[in-house]
């Protein structure tokens, strides 16, 4: 049932996946075919081309995609802006390079392996070099070349799932979202669709290859027709409607996927056409916003404060939000529309019954009890400035400290292996596991208000900002926890879209 629901969300990712793959293959062929001819006629060129293509192939696809982001940023700066560093372009370039090697290698091998007698005969009967190319070399090498193109197509379809990481929609969207939210139905749906696409492409190209081999035009036309039909459907599905297109960004955890859908659904209802760029890293996503590659996303006050503004003082919440808003406006033109109404901060949590029994409700209460308690944290908390700030305000000395990955941290608290954990305040497991969040009366942990941020390009767009304003202060922490839990829980998992639906119709 979950799986059927997940499959129903695959339409857009499949269409986007097909289009980026086909575009990359066409560009890859446009690069590879001339190089193939040149290489077949010149030994030195062949060495260089095959060497370079081999080198590209040794770079993991993920790294290749990631490398194009700074490269395009740099290029864009060089020509005075205007080159998008995220989305279609970097994905297209990286995947095209990936498609070059199998085509080039098969083409060169094929041309070198042609029967020298046929080539001598071609010269002997007086063919010009072009006649020889079109009437002898191309028809003879095409079956070998097609095998290379098939390989390239299958590789590209697989690697294209990674283009999600540079903000190009693909079947990687459900896979990455599912992986981050441990929604295996979503992962499986994405993987199955990618595999089916690869098999279909291999089958259709195989049909064309066979048609060429046995000289049956029918098969070739059938294969070409199938490709044209698939492309037409994908293009129709992706057709930018007359409606204005908005790009919504999301980082790589459940809450971000859900909030992106909340924003997206709202904008769609108001007549916008929405695209998602999900799974972006913290450092990339803010740059993407300032570069207008995405139009809107949700970030957290403390993250901007420490990561982007490099501040380590902790002013009161209201002053902090004002300072952040002013800084973004001045430094890049990004607009802070407003807080969503909840925080996702580091917060100390205990089992509810345990906290009651020991009479602990705040960090102040914790100071005295700490020496007999064990702290569990996530992998980075103990090294973060927030922990130093907490220790500065409250002299906490725990009996022991241990680090866990988030899921295991909650399990450790539940099982009694630790007594206090560094939780995330909007995490759904706080309510589900009956945990008590300890108050921070001295305000040692900076505010992590969820903030709605809009790109410089959209910051003066009244209709757009007006469409987002009703979201200000509309989601309290208990609602966000519940939505997060729908996605994070082990049983009856919801997709981020379903959780967003829940938040909107609450």
């Amino acid at each position: 049932m979950e799986f059927i629901g997940a499959l129903q969300e695959m339409g857009q990712p499949i269409a986007a996946h097909i289009l980026i793959t086909v575009a990359a293959l066409i560009l890859g062929l446009a690069i590879a075919l001339p190089l193939t001819l040149w290489s077949a006629r010149n030994e030195a060129v062949a060495r260089w081309c095959l060497g370079a293509a081999n080198l590209v192939q040794t770079i993991p696809a993920l790294a290749l995609l990631a490398l194009f982001y700074p490269l395009l940023l740099w290029l864009s700066a060089l020509v005075g802006g205007g080159i998008p560093a995220l989305g279609f372009l970097p994905a297209l370039l990286a995947l095209s390079l990936y498609a070059v090697l199998p085509t080039l290698r098969n083409g060169v091998t094929g041309l070198k392996g042609l029967d020298p007698a046929a080539l001598e005969a071609a010269d002997g009967i007086g063919m010009t070099p072009w006649q020889k190319l079109w009437w002898v070399e191309v028809p003879l090498v095409t079956p070998v070349l097609m095998a290379g193109i098939r390989t390239a197509a299958v590789w590209t379809i697989g690697a294209a799932t990674l283009s999600t990481t540079v903000g190009q929609p693909s079947l990687g969207d459900p896979i990455f979202a599912g992986l981050q939210t441990q929604n295996w139905a979503l992962v499986l749906a994405g993987c199955l669709c990618a595999a089916a696409l690869a098999l279909a492409a291999d089958g259709v190209l195989g049909l064309i290859e066979q048609g060429i081999r046995v000289r049956q035009r029918g098969r070739i036309y059938l294969g070409l027709g199938a490709i044209a039909a698939i492309l037409a459907v994908a293009a129709a599905a992706m057709m930018p409607s007359a409606r204005p297109v908005v790009t919504i960004g999301a980082k790589n955890f459940s809450e971000q996927y859900i909030l992106a859908r909340v924003i997206g659904e709202r904008l769609e209802n108001l007549g916008y056409s929405v695209r998602y760029r999900e799974g972006l890293g913290s450092a990339v996503i803010y740059k993407a916003l300032t570069g207008n590659d995405i139009d809107v996303y949700v970030d957290y006050a403390g993250t901007i404060w420490t990561n982007e503004m490099r501040r380590d003082d902790i002013p009161p919440r209201a002053a902090m939000l004002r300072t952040i808003g002013d800084w973004m406006e001045q430094s890049s033109g990004v607009r802070l529309v407003g807080p969503l109404g909840f925080e996702n901060a580091y917060a100390f949590a205990m089992r509810e019954a345990d906290a009651k029994k020991r009479g602990i409700a705040s960090l102040t209460d914790l100071v005295g009890a700490a020496p007999s308690l064990r702290l569990g944290s996530d992998l980075e908390f103990l090294k973060r400035p927030e922990w130093a700030a907490v220790q500065g305000a409250y002299p906490l000395r725990f009996a022991s400290t241990r680090s866990y990955s988030p899921t295991f941290m909650y399990r450790a608290l539940e099982s009694g292996a630790v007594d206090v954990i560094s939780a995330f305040s909007s995490d759904g497991r706080i309510a589900a596991d009956h945990l008590t969040i300890l108050a921070d009366p001295k305000g040692a942990v900076p505010s992590y208000d969820a903030l709605l941020l809009v790109s410089p390009k959209r910051s003066r767009d009244r209709r757009f900002v007006g469409a987002l304003e009703p979201l200000i202060d509309s989601i309290d922490v208990s609602a966000m926890r519940e939505a997060n839990y729908m996605v994070d829980r082990d049983q009856a998992k919801a997709t981020p879209a379903q959780a967003a639906q829940f938040l909107s119709t609450r």
Binding site: A117, A118, E120, A121, D123, G124, I125, G126, L140, R215
Partner: protein, 256 residues
């Protein structure tokens, strides 16, 4: 036959072709008169193939010149030159993706012309192939059939000169003998000027009007088959002629 008096169809003037330090062809001068059937005989590496291929410019000389009917071969681009010269070689080189008919037509197609269905049948008849073979693919033919198609393809554009590089080298003895006679008959019927490279002196003696013997890039013997058999071809030629003659004698002794 009237082969005697016309101007030379092919003239070599001090032609040299080197591969690295080795002279494959070393300052060869030679006239071939129109209508003659010349066999070029010699051991492997004697330069006979290189000499042949310089006529249709599959090789170019390092020095010297080659004229066809009084015009240098370099007067026009190689493809134009080659369309006027039939070329048949040991490995045949039929285009494997084209039918027999398409292979034969290709010789005219390169010049933007077409071969009529009638002419195609004539060509097949000329090389003693059945009409229905035109639709077959090359890989469905025997070796002898393939070389017949190779000859038909070379002759389809009606060239005046036919160059053959070990044309029957890969064929079985029966086919080899039959096809040799047929090619000689075609040569006479069409009035061709033919140069055939072969390492088989018996074949040369039986088919050609004139036998040239090559060794180490030079022509060391030049005589008619009758003169060669009479011992007037020089030492190298005598040694080559001695082999089939000796074989014939031993065969005769076996039978007696």
């Amino acid at each position: 036959m009237s082969t005697a008096t016309t101007a030379p169809a092919i003239r070599f003037v001090e032609v040299t072709r080197r591969f690295g330090a080795v002279s494959a062809v070393n300052s060869v001068s030679l006239d071939v008169s129109a209508g003659s059937f010349v066999a070029l005989v010699g051991p492997s590496g004697s330069g006979k193939s290189t000499l042949l291929k310089m006529i249709n410019r599959l090789e170019d000389p390092d020095s010297g010149s080659i004229d066809l009917n009084g015009l240098p071969v370099t007067a026009e681009p190689p493809p134009q030159l080659r369309r006027k010269i039939g070329y048949v070689f040991q490995n045949i080189g039929l285009f494997p993706h084209l039918s027999v008919g398409e292979n034969i037509r290709m010789g005219l197609k390169v010049a933007g012309e077409t071969l009529s269905a009638e002419r195609l049948q004539e060509m097949l008849q000329l090389v003693d192939l059945a009409p229905d073979i035109a639709l077959r693919m090359p890989d469905a033919l025997s070796g002898g059939q393939r070389q017949r198609v190779g000859v038909a393809r070379a002759l389809a554009p009606a060239p005046q000169i036919l160059l053959m590089d070990e044309p029957f080298g890969a064929l079985d003895p029966v086919t080899r003998d039959a096809l040799g006679r047929e090619v000689r008959a075609i040569h006479d019927r069409l009035g061709l000027t033919t140069i055939m490279v072969t390492h088989d002196m018996a074949e040369a003696l039986l088919l050609a009007d004139r036998v040239l013997v090559m060794e180490q890039g030079a022509i060391v013997g030049d005589a008619s088959p009758a003169d060669l058999l009479a011992g007037k071809g020089g030492a190298v030629a005598d040694a080559l002629v001695a082999i089939p003659r000796d074989q014939a004698r031993r065969l005769a002794e076996l039978g007696s």
